[in-house]
């Protein structure tokens, strides 16, 4: 019964790993793997010698880092606030709305954002009418671009990310709160000394596991929002590999960048799993 899955995985996951040898070759498609000449670490030296290339790594770290922090805090705060709601129907309707963006693709949302963030779009009109601001060039200016990328990612995922916190909030023993009430603790004190400590293990798990993803800035999102004007501050490793590799045809160099990312990512994930196991006693299976 395992056969189909084993074969498919071998073909589509393990064979490409073998293809990584081209990271050490001057790969020419017409010569193939066997006949292309070996050049050792030249691609890697090139990666770290060009300022533009190093900039791509920085962009990835900055964008992914900001997403990681926002993506941890926003769902947590939202889950805490939603937990204070007593009316079940109200709670359910709020959840229905905030989970929705998670299921829409960045193509759809990219299309909507391009429309709304245009210089004459809805958001600039709103800012102009309420605060009298000049139109902002949201997607054409590097710093604004990063802000848009991080904000829209948090906007898309905070609801869905809150599910895990809501589940652990539901698991807190109610008698703890009863005891605190008898002792005269108000809601703020209860939250601070019961709820937050109870959530710390799951926060550590979510935080460490997303640390393993620090080199993933979000290809789908960036690719659908960016344009040549913001390559300097918006290009991440994945979009760079796509542009240089498939569009410009530098297969070997791109594979080297991809390999660099995979190795660093792998090491980080292993460390993160170890840390999650050590500090929060968490295992995936």
């Amino acid at each position: 019964m395992l056969l189909p899955a084993v074969v498919l995985t071998f073909i589509f996951a393990y064979i490409p790993m073998g293809g990584l040898v081209i990271a050490f070759q001057d790969y020419k498609p017409w010569l193939g793997f066997a006949k292309s000449s070996w050049i050792g670490l030249e691609h890697f030296q090139f990666l770290f010698s060009m300022p533009e290339n190093v900039q791509v790594i920085w962009n990835t770290l900055i964008i992914a880092g900001m997403k990681l922090i926002g993506g941890l805090i926003a769902p947590l705060v939202f889950a805490l606030l939603l937990n204070e709601v007593r009316k079940e129907t109200f709670k359910k309707s709020i959840q229905t709305f905030v989970y929705l963006p998670h299921f829409l693709s960045w193509v759809i949302l990219g299309g909507i954002l391009l429309d709304m963030l245009a210089t004459k779009g809805m958001i600039n009109q709103f800012l102009g009418a309420v605060f009298g601001l000049e139109p902002i060039f949201f997607l054409g200016e590097g710093t604004w671009f990063r802000i848009v990328v991080v904000t829209s990612d948090i906007w898309k995922e905070f609801g869905f990310g809150a599910i895990i916190f809501l589940a652990s909030l539901a698991g807190i023993n109610p008698s703890l709160y009863e005891a605190a009430e008898v002792d005269g603790a108000n809601r703020w004190q209860q939250t601070w000394s019961i709820t937050i400590p109870a959530l710390i293990p799951i926060m550590i798990v979510v935080g460490t596991l997303s640390l393993g993803n620090i080199l993933n800035g979000g290809f789908d999102q960036i690719f659908n929002l960016y344009n040549p004007l913001v390559y300097d501050k918006g290009d991440i490793i994945d979009t760079f590999v796509y542009r240089v590799g498939l569009i410009d045809g530098k297969f070997g160099f791109s594979a080297a960048v991809g390999l660099f990312k995979s190795v660093v990512g792998f090491v980080l994930i292993v460390i993160a799993y170890r840390a999650a196991y050590k500090f929060a006693n968490y295992r995936i299976f």
Binding site: L2, I15, L20, E84, Y99, V107, A167, V241, F266
Partner: protein, 292 residues
Amino acid sequence: MYHKTKPYKVFTVFNYTFLILLSLLCIIPLIHILAVSFSGKAAANANLVGLFPVEFTFDAYAKTLANENFIRSLWVAVQRTVLGTLLSMIVVILAAYPLSRENRSFKRRNIYTWYFVFTMLFSGGLIPFYILIQKLNLLNTMWVLILPGAVSVWNMILLLNFFRNVPRELEEAAFIDGAGYFRTLISVFLPVSMPAIATLSLFSMVGHWNAWFDGLIFLTDHEKYPLATFLQTIIVQQDFSKVSVRPEDLENISQRTIKAAQIFIGMAPILIVYPLLQRFFVKGIVLGAVKE
């Protein structure tokens, strides 16, 4: 007791207001795009549309549905979603069942588990993957959209954990009645795991419907684009060279209301399956929580 204190009541009012605003924030962009799609061309181009249509008309939808390229890519997307979900679920179910067995009865279980999990941690990356697809002659076929993602390791782990909670007595009873492994999987495990299988199928469907990147790089023949890829090139990249258009159609494609209509049709199936999906995954979390 704290429910009755004055500061908490003030907080509750603020909290409810804030949460309502937050959920509005999540759907306002969708309402805006819907309003644009139903508005007149002139009003939309003059940016007069907010959350309600101005000069209400079905014009944009009529033009979108008359567009051959759009309909063709819609059909490709439907085929891809149905075939892809079916194949992926079959492969995942077949693999999850043996992997859910205990180490005693399936000695190499851990080796196989790691064989699959490793692919989640490390990958060859885009370029070697592209070269492989090229060598396999899969460019421009439907298979390239369906086969590579068929083994979803994540779904497999979720399902094998679900299978593990099925009482072993049920399985033993089936064996005593003379059923083999296949028979047991089909008549015992599948029926009791319906909530999990429904959830995973729906996740897989959403994934296939939304996928656009594989279409963009592996289908050079633009007539084979699924809807998500078609929308990506037309609306996001605004690259009209990839669809065969006559000059007189060009204005039709670039018009703002038509783009809005296309975006809305692109997310319509998700808006339809979403309520179903939500009911199931909330159930799944509850099931997970009461697990002994």
